[in-house]
Amino acid sequence: MTVDLDKFKKPGKDYYLALGLEGSANKLGVGVIKHNLGQLSSENRAEVLSNVRDTYITPPGEGFLPRDTARHHRNWVVRIIKKSLVDAGIKGTDLDCICFTQGPGMGAPLQSVVIAARTLSQLWKLPLIGVNHCVGHIEMGREITGANNPVVLYVSGGNTQIIAYSRQRYRIFGETLDIAIGNCLDRFARVLKISNDPAPGYNIEQMAKKGKHLVTLPYTVKGMDLSMAGILSYIEVLAKDLFSSNPKKNKNLIDEESGELITPEDLCYSLQESLFSMLVEITERAMAHVQSNQVLIVGGVGSNERLQEMMELMVNERKNGSIHATDERFCIDNGIMIAHAGLLSYRMGQINDLKDTVCTQRFRTDEVFVSWRDD
């Protein structure tokens, strides 16, 4: 049985247009998506009309503070929305609805973007749809890759979750017990003063490619969950020793086999290998639990090619296994995924009254009722 997505179609119009606004962290994204009437399928794909993003970039060694991130979003949002509409070749009043990220994320940036969403909604008299950020990633990943019912690995600066769909919820099978994987990588990048442009994780990935020696790091899988704060502390100490002038302190930083000195590149390589192995382990276990052979990787860290490669090795050893990942346009936070997931809600009649558009920093993936799926 499939759900009817066209109960709320407008007479005389055979498509829907939605604007999505994303600003839960340091990226401000605005996108316009088009759905034609009927079920989404391989013959009837959602169409990306525009997908504009601007990232708040901080100096090397610094993270992004809520106040300045929110200021970035406030001061750019109008320009980015204008560009998005121009790219899409439409007017605001052509839209069916305005979708925004309701959470999870950082409070101040979320607040800034929702104000823009409310304003547009009242200006153009359009309904508002609050979208769970994680569900946005999942739905966009499914749409772009065509993966029907995958185990989803959601890895980003603020989230690390293994998710599978069951009875109209995206259920969390495993997750981080402390910090997110992207946060672990970003904070390590700060210790090494690696540039934040275009993203600290991307720069770690490039450095890791030059790493030759694997430094043993703690491996902390706890059942279906994982913990990364301890690994970060451990490697931070190693990294600080690397820059220490005291030669005694450097005794841990010699490769046992070759006797060569450990470099920052080796540390990047070792950190990636350890963290990604943990992810592969719990993803494989989740696949066995739900008897799925598809994996979909979403979230900013999902654009890491080494993670994709390691996951592929595991998936290829499973019967009929397939792996799906998207590139940076859809992996890294963007407005189009919010537009897409929001439009699915809209087509099922799930819209928010103005009073129900308050953002929340805590909004778990499994709180969302997935009315648009019934498999």
């Binding site: 708040y56 901080t58 100096p59 060694g61 610094e62 300045d68 200021r71 970035h72 406030r74 320009r79």
Partner: protein, 101 residues
Amino acid sequence: MNSPIAEYSSPDINKTLTAGDGPHSTNGKTTQISEFVTKAGGEDRDKPTEASDSQLGQLRAKITSLQDNINVFLTQRMKQVKDEGDIERRILDDGVDEDSD
């Protein structure tokens, strides 16, 4: 065009805040980039666009001035409440730590 105003009320005072006489601009005093970021070597590429000559553009600039006045006022209020709290605690505790004999 009328100027935007903001009204503040609490048990002890009521106050109406205005945008002031101007000149107004969208580059507010209290909405600048954090000093913390500039000290770390960051540059400000996120300045707001300048206000246009249109009515809405002028309103934007006035609201920025009003926001500045609200921020200054509320910061003072918070500081005042904090100072009063300190006085109260000093009188009640008579400068003596409760746990000491």
